[in-house]
Structure formats: structure tokens, C-alpha cells
Amino acid sequence: MNYVEVSNLSKCFGQNTVFEGINLTIKQGEFVTLLGPSGCGKSTLLRCIAGLNDVDNGNIIVKGEDITHAAPQTRGIGMVFQSYALFPNMTVWDNIAFGLKMQKVSAADLKQQVGKVIELVELNGREQYYPHQLSGGQRQRVALARALVVKPRILLLDEPLSALDARIRKHLREQIRTIQKEMNLTTIFVTHDQEEALTMSDRIFLMNKGEIVQSGTAEEIYTQPASEFVASFMGNYNLLGAKQVHDIFGMSINGKLAIRPESIYVREAGRQYGEHISAPVLANVVSHQLLGNVIRYQVVLSQDETQQPNVVPTPSIIVDMLNRSSERLFEQGTKLELMFNKNEMQEVA
């Protein structure tokens, strides 16, 4: 059962068609991303779902209820804006409490719920600050808290991280994802940053010129681009024309061939592994995270079953591998052999 269903949605501003015939479905608790270059219509699509722009054609259905023409106040949608849109005349506390006040929640409930969400976004002690007294990252966390506190059916995030510096962006990215999972919140995230989309999303809808050009999981979109646009937008693909492909590989194709740089093996002629490579160590895959051209695995080193059970907790190790997921994407529980390069081991104090 789909939680959100957008069918055949169209929107124009005067003569200018922003998007046409958009179809997408989202399951409950899913984190989906609308990804695309600026001007592709992703933000307008988000605003249509929020009810901030009206639509010309098509339907938006949430939980079986048609909200295509419902007022934004009644949709049960929370939104975080790129500009934060915090009310400058209100403190952090009043900003967050605003939605609950509109719902006429009792004072005791309000206090409890606002307090809880302030804790969730780690803003304790900042309740009486005004927005202009906060840093960008703090402001965006207030905006997030303000959207979360009313328990929206859908959370919309309109490029919430683009105005922040890289370190805070990364931290907030993880925080948003953690909270979203914890609350099982159906979330639509808009961004033009492909790395952000790949690391955060359950599913990505890649848009260009008012159309969804490809949709799928991060892995699918990244490793199986359907068109030249997707390939060039998602990574540093080498794009070879049909003639070049024929000359190099002797294959004949109709379109172009996209080859990811990290999928190419390189071996120095005549090189052998020597003393500096350790004997294989057994390990189990715990999880993996796609960082684009790199897949980061978390593994635990497993004990040899014949040995005595070890009292030392099994060490957890992070392993980066170039993304060649078509031939090997190690799922959770896969047994691996690790070999360590002794020359790359650094003793530290």
C-alpha cells in the first residue's frame, strides 16, 4: 500500500511548463529524494505537495485521501525551508510551539512536546534565544524541530542543508536521517547535491527539465544510469560514443557507453604481493553505506571457531572499497577475508 501517491501531476506558470505528467509513489516511513539540477522543477513539485502552489492537473493522494486541492493548513505536512523561515520575532521555544498553539494544544501538553523535540534536536539551553542569535546549523535544527513537533504525516525538506558549511552539513545529514528512522517519518527531500542524495535516501527520483528521468535506490541510480544525463549528473562517468566503443572494444551499441572510473581494474605489470601483506583475517559484514564512488563497509572480525571464545570484544572495522557493486556488493552477514597492507599501518601514540 502506497502512503503517498502522486499521479499525472502538471504545473505551469503562464506559458512556462514547470513539470508535466509526474508520477511517483512513496511508502510509509520511506526517505525519498527529489534530485536534479536547479530549475528542474523539484522545488515546485515539493511546494505543490505542500499545497503552497496549486496544480493544474493530476492528483496527490496521502493515505488514501485526495489532498490535491486541500489548504496547506489541513494537509498535515511539515516543511523545512532552505531559508529556515524562522519567525524573527519569536524565541526558539515560541517558534517550535507555534504549530501546537495553532492546534490549541493544552499548555501542559505543549510544554512536554516542545521540550521533547528540543531535546531531540539537541537545542537544550537555547530555548530563549532569538533566531538571529543562533548559527546556521542551529537555526536549521529549530526549523526541523518546528516541523517535527506537530507530528506531520509527511516531512518535506527543501534543500535544508545547502546554506550550511560542509562539516555541519554532514552532521545534520546524519541527524536528520536518524530522527527520520526513529520516528518512521515519510520524508521527501529536495537537493541538487548527488552525494547528499546517495548517502541519505532510500530511493531517489532524478529529475531533469520537469521530468523524472530515473528512479530507484541509490545503488541503482548510481550504477545503472539510464541515460547520458543521469550518468553525467551522478558521477564522473567516462562517456564513450558508439564509434569509440567499436574501436576500443569491438562492440556495436546504439547510444553511448558509460563507464565509471572506479570500475576499471588497474594492475602494474609484473607486480607481486610480498611480505608486507598480512595473512587473511576472517570478517563478517555488518552494514554498508554508499558514498558514491566508494562503498564503506562496517565489518566485525570473526573468531576462528576452533579457538577458545575470546574475552576481548570483537573489533569492528571500517573498510572502503571502490564501488563495483554490479559484481560484488557484500550484503549483511557475508563472510570476507581481509588482508592488511603492513606498509599502510601507522603506529600512533
Binding site: 505542500a50 499545497g51 493548513q73 505536512i77 525551508f81 523561515a85 519567525f87 518546528r146 506537530v150
Partner: protein, 263 residues
């Protein structure tokens, strides 16, 4: 060392110019002040003596108090009308029809473009008879004063609104369940409060000093402060000086309030 000297002489020069200019401009005000406090100041270089009699006489004159009261009343009503009309208008312009802003900027220049003497003749012809014969009543002044206050208030409010991200703030409020009027009251109004107060004080002191329209359109039929001052021109110069100074300090106080609120 030479640099420091240069800098020193530069600031000295600037200070001389500024203080010189201020002193020059202050001379008539100070002279009026002294004259309003002087007992008699005729053939001698210095006054014969000082007294508060002129002020006492002025502030005990029922005609002055009535004129002052009428002026205050006119200003209050005009500004109330201005607020009631301009604040919703500017919100509609900025939120729904941002393109109208450039037209509004043209429109608010009109009161400046047409000299008061010219427009008062036009107003006389329009409102002397016909469907709305209001010449000689305070109503015609209230209407006129609205057009005078419009540019001040529109510019100040427009600046305040440009300082906030109106569209996103309204969108955020809507999504949090607030109706447009509710969002306007709890989010837009508090954020334009400073600009509004500053422009109100400015317009107030400006309107209080308005003479041309008051004299031509209404005259003694509803005597305002400025018309009263004009009619008193034949009486003692000490008395009118006391009147001018009273008015001056009142306006000074208002201007001080305006700058305080606009900070």
C-alpha cells in the same frame, strides 16, 4: 608621523565644517528662544530682562489650546486612517502582487510631484460643491493628510517587509496551521512594528507643521496650530516666538521618539 598629522588636520577640518554649519543653523532657533524669554528687546543689544510670561500667556490662551487640540486630533485621525489603509495594502502588494511595488513607488511620489498650492486649488474645485462638499470641514484635511503620510509610511513599511523573507514566513505559518490573517497578526505585524512606529512619528511631526492645505482648504473654520500661528502674526513677536518654540520642542520630542524606535 606625517600621516598622523594629516589625519589630525583632516578631522579638525571636518569638525570645523560640521560645527560651523550646526551653529549657523542654530542661530535663528536660539535667537527665537531668547526672544521668547525676553521681557522687552527693542533698542538695546541685550534684552531688558527674562520672563516666562509669554509662555504662560500662550498656554493659558483657550484659542491656542483649541487649535493645538484640533491639530492633534487631525493628525491622529489621519494617521489612523493611513494605518488602516496602508498596512493591508502593502501586505497585499508584497505577498500577492510583488510586481505592483514598482507602481506603488511611482504613486507615492505624486504628493511630492504636485506642489501643495496647486493640488489645494484642485481639491478646492473638486470638493467645494458637487457630491462631496467637504471644503471647510476637517474631513478634507484628513483625506489630504493621508496622501501626505502615504509616502513616508509606504517607504518605511516596504523597507521592513523587504528585510524579512515574507513568502517563506507566510508559507511556514500556513503549513503550521495558521490562517492568513492569523499569520499576518502574529508574524508580519511584529516584524514591521519598528518601521511602522518610526514612520508614524515622522508623519505626525510633519503633519503637525502642515500649513498650506490647512489654510487654503479650511482656514479659520477649523483653526489648526499652524493657521493659528499665522493669524497671530500681528500680535507681539515675543508671544509668537513662544508659540514657535513650543511647537519646535514638541516636534523635537517626537523626532527623538522616532529615532529611538527606528533603532
Amino acid at each position: 608621523m606625517q600621516n598622523v598629522n594629516l589625519k589630525m588636520s583632516a578631522t579638525t577640518y571636518h569638525k570645523t565644517v560640521v560645527y560651523g554649519l550646526v551653529s549657523l543653523l542654530a542661530i535663528p532657533v536660539i535667537a527665537t528662544l531668547v526672544y521668547s524669554l525676553a521681557q522687552r528687546w527693542g533698542a538695546t543689544i541685550t534684552p531688558d530682562g527674562f520672563t516666562f510670561d509669554w509662555y504662560l500667556q500662550l498656554w493659558q490662551d483657550p484659542r491656542f489650546l483649541a487649535a493645538f487640540g484640533r491639530s492633534l486630533l487631525l493628525c491622529f485621525i489621519s494617521l489612523a486612517v493611513s494605518c488602516a489603509l496602508i498596512i493591508p495594502t502593502i501586505f497585499v502588494v508584497f505577498y500577492y502582487f510583488p510586481r505592483l511595488d514598482s507602481w506603488m513607488n511611482l504613486l507615492i511620489l505624486l504628493p511630492f510631484a504636485v506642489p501643495p498650492v496647486v493640488s489645494s486649488v484642485g481639491l478646492l474645485q473638486l470638493y467645494a460643491d458637487g457630491p462631496i462638499p467637504i471644503v471647510g470641514t476637517p474631513w478634507v484635511l484628513i483625506g489630504t493628510y493621508f496622501t501626505i503620510a502615504l509616502p513616508f509610511m509606504y517607504r518605511a513599511l516596504a523597507n521592513s517587509l523587504q528585510g524579512i523573507n515574507l513568502r517563506d514566513l507566510m508559507d511556514a505559518a500556513h503549513l503550521l496551521g495558521a490562517s492568513t490573517p492569523r499569520a499576518f497578526v502574529s508574524i508580519v505585524l511584529p516584524n514591521i512594528r519598528k518601521g511602522l512606529l518610526a514612520s508614524l512619528f515622522l508623519s505626525f511631526s510633519f503633519l503637525l507643521g502642515e500649513f498650506v492645505f490647512a489654510n487654503i482648504l479650511v482656514g479659520t473654520r477649523f483653526e489648526t496650530l499652524q493657521v493659528y500661528l499665522y493669524n497671530m502674526r500681528q500680535t507681539s513677536g515675543h508671544f509668537t516666538s513662544a508659540l514657535v518654540m513650543s511647537y519646535f520642542f514638541f516636534t523635537l520630542f517626537l523626532t527623538w521618539l522616532a529615532t529611538r524606535f527606528s533603532r
